[in-house]
Point group: C2
Chain length 544, copies 2
């Protein structure tokens, strides 16, 4: 790191990574060295209950921004120009795929309806409140020229919760219900926000009537269903190919390469057909962990488990490091410096709207969700509702990427109104990640002091990437043995049961179907022949 700094004056003329400029080599060196520093410092701060890797990366990014600002004599604070493509094509897919790959499937599907309610309906409520609120409140501030599309875009931008940060703050093992609700909501919410945003940019918004609204809703459901199907089909194809072709002889490298490439292909196919790549790659991850993962060698299993988690981990740190560094970009702040009060006002209004917008759907929708549930321990109590509300307040890289898309051209801000919106987005992201993010862990400890939670706090750090805490084999067991310590699931045997506990019954029939048809075709735990083509390292060694 130190070696790179004498060359800092070069930083002024930096652009994209993909130029053969020597300056871009300098910036890549600094960036990679900073990533290493984030990992080491994050590890050292692991014991600290307030910190997590996201916040460490944000702070290191901010500090580096200051250093670069000083070296370049106030001309620049970042070493890479933020590119939406970098984010949406390279950084987001591994994060979301890994989330799907490591998610506890049982827990996720059990709460499927609630998750959909929060992710789709909740995001729409939040979007409407933020859009309308911003239009009403900004009028008094004279923010600059913003039209209807801009206000709707603001609604979509600030409805996108940060699932990356949520993953780092909540713990899948400690608070499984909350984790699956908040994280599942995050994934659906990301998709909803992106769909909303794209809809705003493509629809004619000069005259909104009921037919356009209907078209909008239809479009959303079409996108949701097709994206999910694409992900499921991609996952099944990968399982089928690996099961059929690799029967009798295995090659770990080919299996791992094929899994990575098929997962990425599913994302790119979704982008190709203008679907939601986030939803697709998430469901592809779920299917791959349920089928494909069981068809490969022991070595491939360990490798994919850790390699996907590592890629996701690096991508997360990369994003937060970048956001921290970019926050000080001088060009954006120049417009704002003449009227600092206005920027503070806009940021405060947006933060308030985010708080209100989220409260407006978490509590009512929790009430509706609770009505449908019979057993008391499945209901979401008030403390849990409060935690869900709080944990989803963070705004992150998706908001940044959408704001850049709407309010800038090629990373530069021309109009005063646009500059204010960009700086306000940065402020909201920094404030929500910093303040809300920092306070989430203590809040959970305060509100939900379960005995399990307290006993694990000292030995297991909530900031450690989740996948590693869960031992590898446990995942498979969870899959079959319910994995929900604390209460029993009644086996549904009659129509009365079907009506009272629909999701359990659906799950029961799904298991039957899975065992009778899906697993024999696509492989999966217990359905891969043991000899001689068994996917174990030992068998592989014998064959080779």
């Amino acid at each position: 790191m130190d070696m790179a700094f004498p060359l800092a004056p070069l930083l002024m003329k930096l652009g994209m990574v993909s130029t053969s400029d020597h300056a871009s080599v300098v910036s890549m060196n600094i960036f990679v060295a900073l990533l290493c520093a984030c990992i080491v410092i994050g590890h050292l701060l692991e014991e600290n209950r307030w910190m997590n890797e996201s916040i460490t990366a944000l702070i290191i990014g901010l500090c580096t921004g200051v250093v670069i600002l000083l070296f370049s004599k106030g001309k620049s604070s970042h070493i890479l120009v933020f590119s939406e493509d970098l984010f949406f094509i390279y950084l987001l897919p591994p994060i979301i795929f890994n989330a799907g790959f490591q998610v506890k499937k049982k827990q996720f599907f059990r709460n499927f309806m609630t998750i959909m309610l929060f992710g789709a309906v909740g995001t729409l409520i939040s979007f409407v409140i933020i859009s309308l609120g911003a239009r009403e409140l900004f009028k008094k501030l004279d923010v600059g020229s913003l039209d209807v599309a801009d206000y709707l875009a603001i609604g979509a931008i600030f409805s996108a919760t940060d699932s990356v940060c949520t993953l780092q703050v909540l713990n899948q093992d400690e608070t499984p219900l909350l984790y699956s609700l908040v994280f599942g909501e995050g994934v659906v919410n990301d998709a909803t926000s992106v769909v909303l945003f794209n809809a705003i940019q493509s629809f004619d918004l000069s005259h909104i009537d009921s037919s356009i609204a209907l078209q909008f809703v239809g479009n959303f459901f079409y996108l949701f269903v097709t994206s999910t199907m694409l992900g499921v089909i991609s996952g099944l194809i990968s399982a089928f190919i690996i099961k059929k072709l690799y029967f009798g002889r295995h090659s770990t490298d080919r299996e791992v390469a094929l899994m990575i490439l098929m997962a990425y292909l599913s994302y790119m196919l979704a982008e190709l057909f203008y679907l939601s790549g986030i939803l697709t790659v998430f469901f592809c991850g779920i299917v791959m962990s349920h089928y494909t993962w069981h068809n490969v060698t022991e070595g491939s299993r360990v490798t994919t488990k850790h390699a996907f988690a590592t890629l996701s981990f690096i991508a997360e740190i990369f994003i937060f490091l970048y956001v921290g560094m970019d926050a000080l970009d001088i060009e954006k702040w120049r417009f704002v410096s003449s009227s600092p009060g206005k920027s503070v006002g806009v940021s405060s209004i947006l933060l308030g709207l985010v708080l209100v917008g989220r409260a407006a759907f978490v509590f009512p929708l929790s009430f509706i969700s609770n009505l449908a549930k019979k057993s008391a321990h499945e209901k979401i109590n008030l403390k849990q509702q409060f935690t869900i509300w709080w944990a989803g307040l963070m705004r992150g890289a998706v908001s940044m990427a959408l704001a850049y898309n709407q309010f800038t051209r090629l990373g530069h801000t021309q109009l005063r109104g646009n500059a204010i919106m960009i700086t306000s987005t940065i402020t909201v992201v920094l404030f929500s990640t910093g303040v809300f993010g920092l306070m989430t862990q203590p809040l959970i400890r305060l509100l939900l002091p379960s005995s399990k939670h307290l006993s694990r706090t000292l030995s297991s750090e909530p900031t450690t990437p989740k996948s590693i805490i869960t031992p590898l084999l446990e995942n498979g067991q969870h899959d079959s043995e319910a994995g929900l310590s604390g209460y029993d699931i009644p086996r549904p045997t009659s129509l009365r049961m079907l009506l009272s506990t629909p999701s359990h019954t659906v799950h029961h029939y799904w298991r039957k179907f899975d065992n009778a048809f899906m697993r024999p075709v696509f492989g999966g735990r217990g359905f891969v022949p043991v000899v001689p083509g068994s996917p174990t390292d030992k068998a592989e060694k014998d064959l080779k």
Copy 2:
């Protein structure tokens, strides 16, 4: 794949991947799908003794090129513009790092002097012969305007053997001596070619005298030593950080991420200081496998082993797929089509020079190398010399990248002479990889029919990535137990021994130093405390 083709007309206007154009999404889809197809088809053809993954990828690339050519009505044949950066910054580092990480260190260092002789002196001889030969022979062909620098560049371009293809054709377990010689030479040769090429572009070549030649040699040794040192130091730093910080508690994701990032950082640092990144990352790989790899958890070990091999595997297929696709680029062939005989003549001359240039150093240098060796089984016999000569005839992606750098601007060919050079390079690469590559395996079977080799042929396919054939633990054992079945190494005990077998004695003192100083500081096999911070998955689970 099929889904992507109806959109083929879009392919005409494709550029770089990093544009937000929807067309680039199409091209990425096709490319990723083709990579998947290469893996699957490569696996199916594994039994075939003539094929390997490189040639499969080349052929698939060529076929795709034809299809795209038809769909775009003869306007374009490739879907990604070849970028030198893509190759040198993203694809080459994982391949070379993995080679260093998986190389049998003992064998490599035993033949160190021979490897250096072949890689450095041999490449220089080849370079001089090809440069002079091309200047003399091209005069009669009226090739277009080529100056002294161009001829020297041609020498450097066609001296770069293809270590990627060599890795796929030779087998580390079957022919360890040949593998280490040819592969080791390939790495040093890559570095030499790149150094030569850079020297040609920076030195004033209008008046070559002895002082410039001396400067040139000095420059080369400086680059070699500093690049190696940088790689070794980077590797040691990674070992030290992981050993010190992670004592007592481990996080697999962080370890894997840190290893990947440190390896990449070493490459980028070398590029930053205008050193040879290839040499740096190769030695970083060696040091990491000797120290760092032993300091991490069992999960990290399996993951890094396979993840590096997989990354390298994908990068290799990517390169060959691209080279195959790019071979049909219409723009380059337009200049040539008017005088097809000339292009064939130039290609033939270059192929002939490659054959002569390599023969001119392999046989004399083998003779010199044999003089220094006492025991008969360490000498390189004539059959082995022939195999070394043959296996190094392939020209690959490094030659392509250097040719693009010298003869094109932004991927387009303006001058007739340049266009002929590019098409000739493509022809030489295709021909040498296709013909020489295809014939190497049968040739080795014919010339070196060892019993071990024959018995393994049916069960172990030489085209399978090497790392997988070698079981994980075996690597560590090879390290300590010589791993050279067939003959014993005499333990040197006196000065007489030092004089007769210098490399063995150096090795003996290195082991002493390694055990007494290096391993206690940097970790390594047997020098990582077993309890309680033992790098095993079990201990990790207990702690968490």
